[in-house]
């Protein structure tokens, strides 16, 4: 054991402390739902303090832990009192969905969820104001699970973000890049960087999530290992970027949908902040609809014909398997709800297609490279 090893251990513990603090603040923020008037619960606070102050740990004195926990709870109350707008995303902090959410509005409280279904559920149940999910990627194509969830979700698409995805090779600071042997990341990211990995004789190691891999590197400090994730994930977990943009294709973009409850109305201040957000192109107005293909000749054609005759530009047509033998068809097109041309086409489609639903009309913005 030497000083360097000890400091490495301390750094690793600090990374975990920070992640845990973040997680604790997230839980505190969610608990505001049960305390609508910001009422304090002295009994609960007392029991938390008492547990923190138990004199069982020789190096953590009751005074120290008590003081620390008083400060933590004070911060929790302050977070609850702020009118923070929340957005759920799938993955660990630093995920590409979170990068997209921050591009849409950096003031959002981004809340990690284990699964896409959890994002949908939490928005529907009112835990989060918004949810953000990837819909399609230029290299990987359709994000199947998300599209399947969209078919039945009683949510509204309120915005779309088109984000460049540039993977960074991240390591612990001070790692000699020549020692790297294993690279951890989501399978999709690994496959997007196959050429780079093979040129440099690096073994791809599939992990559940890109940002999760970055966090694992920071927390567990495996030797000779690196992660492929966003630059933001690298900053978040204190990792060094060996190289940015290691994906094989120069153009790699992912399109995200921002979802909210159907009847949700954003505060004017938030809507204003989102609209004036820099770093994105001006919005292109689009609408997304979903319906079931009718099981007869020309069923799909009938719908497409309506849009073609109305002179509406379709930007995406996608089908996902629904019930056995049935398909849900997604169509995105350019236009606004109150455009009479669009309104007429939607009305005409409703009478022709089975289960026709408008998922939302929204502005789509691109994040520049």
């Amino acid at each position: 054991m030497n000083l360097e090893d000890l400091r490495n251990d301390i750094d690793r513990i600090d990374e975990r402390l920070l992640s845990l603090l973040e997680e604790r603040m997230e839980k505190a923020l969610l608990s505001r739902t049960f305390k609508p008037d910001g009422i304090r619960d002295p009994e609960r606070e007392e029991s938390v303090l008492e547990r923190a102050r138990r004199p069982l740990r020789p190096l953590v004195s009751p005074d120290f832990s008590g003081g620390l926990w008083s400060r933590i709870m004070e911060e929790s109350r302050s977070i609850q009192a702020q009118r923070l707008v929340t957005i759920g995303f799938q993955g660990a902090h630093g995920a590409w969905s979170e990068v997209a959410a921050r591009a849409w509005s950096p003031t959002l409280a981004t809340m990690p969820c284990p699964d896409f279904a959890d994002v949908f559920q939490a928005v529907r149940d009112g835990w989060f104001d918004y949810g953000i999910v990837p819909v399609e990627n230029t290299l990987g194509g359709l994000v199947g699970q998300v599209n399947s969830l969209l078919v039945y979700a009683d949510l509204r698409i309120v915005a779309a973000i088109d984000l460049p995805v540039s993977h960074c090779l991240l390591t612990l600071p001070g790692t000699d890049h020549r020692d790297i042997r294993q690279v951890y990341s989501h399978e999709q990211a690994l496959s997007q960087c196959r050429g780079f990995l093979s040129r440099n004789r690096l073994d791809p190691m599939p992990y559940f999530d890109t940002a999760g891999a970055a966090r694992m590197i920071a927390e567990e400090r495996p030797r000779a290992a690196a992660a492929l994730a966003s630059r933001f994930a690298g900053e978040l977990y204190g990792l060094e970027t060996i190289k940015e943009g290691v994906q094989d294709a120069e153009v790699n973009r992912t399109r995200f949908f921002v979802l909210s409850k159907r009847d949700a109305v954003p505060s004017p201040a938030f809507a204003e902040a989102v609209a004036s957000q820099k770093g994105l192109t001006a919005p292109i107005m689009k609408c997304s609809v979903v319906f079931n293909a009718t099981d007869k000749a020309g069923g799909l054609f009938g719908i497409l014909e309506i849009f073609a005759k109305a002179g509406i530009n379709l930007t995406r047509i996608e089908s996902v398997p629904d019930k056995p033998g049935d398909y849900a068809i997604f169509i995105d097109f350019e236009g606004e709800e109150d455009d009479p041309k669009v309104a007429t086409a939607i009305k005409a489609s409703e009478s022709v297609a089975r289960g026709f639903r408008v998922l939302g009309c929204y502005g789509e913005r691109r994040v520049s490279q």
């Binding site: 020549r178 780079f196 040129r199 440099n200 190289k243 943009g245 290691v246 120069e250």
Partner: protein, 329 residues
């Protein structure tokens, strides 16, 4: 990111000195010893090979690679890059891994230096030439740089040559300070034999009994390469002489001798450079040199455009009269 595509192309303006007859003469002169140059030798292909990097066609268009000896900081590198580009350089050089005589001397910024060079390319568009000294670094340096340089001290590091051959990046192969012409070409053969056609030779001076200059710049290698190989050859007058005042005359001499390009060290503030203080030009001096280079090249183009003159030079032993000189008189 600029993906450089390396390819052989046959220069369509086959110059007089590369005629079949003169190639055969070159081969005869060296006899059987050159027989192993299956890929580097001039019988490997018709015409001259051209190495294309980021739109620069080395071997066809005169190339000037300029930049600091070492990447010392982002500010120093980017300012130098902008200055050499303004002066007309076609590529940026800069060392991130430095093979220094003393283990205590500045060894280069390593990976940080590579990142700075990458940024300099983004800002100026100049392709990057940088040295690789460790086989473990070859693939990594190739991720940041357009051309990998094998330095004089590593010319016969055969595992490094093989690795460089596998990298798929063009290689600037410097002549070792004690290497014969034949040894040098055989090192190029190592790279070519790995299936990498992008080799550029660079003469940078050899050790002789002369100590006045840092090295003795052997300009006779230019016609030697032209006679015996199809590879482009460039000259490094900075290391070749190690003396500031000699860089200009030797650059001009190299052009007169038919070099395909020059590699010149330029630093934004030479007195405070961390390596090679004595031989780095200021951007102003480099700009003046570039102006003379342009003028001499125009003259050389005029000179070489006259095939009768070339023939006369080869056939006669006495002084020759070129048409262009006659026209001037």
């Amino acid at each position: 990111m600029t993906l450089s595509i390396v390819m052989y192309t046959i220069a369509n303006h086959d110059r007089q000195q590369h005629s079949q007859a003169s190639r055969e003469r070159g081969l005869r002169r060296k006899g059987a010893r050159m027989k192993d140059l299956r890929l580097a030798g001039n019988l490997a292909m018709e015409g001259r090979s051209v190495v294309e990097v980021g739109g620069v066609r080395i071997g066809e268009v005169f190339t000037v690679i300029a930049g600091p000896c070492s990447v010392e900081s982002e500010d120093q590198t980017i300012r130098t890059a902008v200055a050499v580009k303004e002066a007309g350089a076609t590529m940026l050089r800069g060392g991130a891994f430095k093979p220094r005589t003393s283990p205590y001397a500045f060894q280069g910024l390593g990976l940080k230096g590579l990142k700075i060079l990458e940024k300099a390319r983004r800002e100026t568009g100049l392709p990057i030439v940088t040295e690789v000294i460790d086989t473990r670094d070859v693939s990594w340096v190739g991720e940041y740089a357009d051309i990998l340089q094998i330095g004089a001290r590593n010319m016969q590091n055969f595992s490094l040559l093989r690795e460089a051959g596998k990298s798929g990046r063009p290689i600037l192969l410097k002549r070792g300070m004690h290497a014969t012409f034949e040894e040098w070409l055989n090192c190029a053969e190592y790279i070519l034999a790995e299936g990498n056609p992008g080799v550029i030779l660079c003469e940078r001076g050899i050790r002789t009994f002369e100590t006045y200059t840092r090295n003795t710049l052997d300009l006779s290698m230019i016609p030697a390469v032209k006679l015996n190989s199809h590879l482009p050859v460039i000259i490094d007058p900075s290391h070749g002489t190690g003396i500031l005042e000699m860089i200009e005359p030797m650059s001009l001499a190299a052009i007169a001798a038919g070099a395909d390009g020059l590699e010149i060290e330029v630093h934004i503030d030479p007195p405070n450079a961390m390596s090679d203080k004595a031989q780095q030009l200021t951007p102003e001096a480099f700009m003046r040199l570039m102006d003379k280079i342009r003028r001499l090249r125009a003259f050389m183009a005029e000179l070489n455009a006259d095939p009768e003159h070339m023939l006369a030079e080869q056939d006669k032993t006495g002084p020759t009269q070129s048409r262009s000189r006659a026209a001037r008189a």
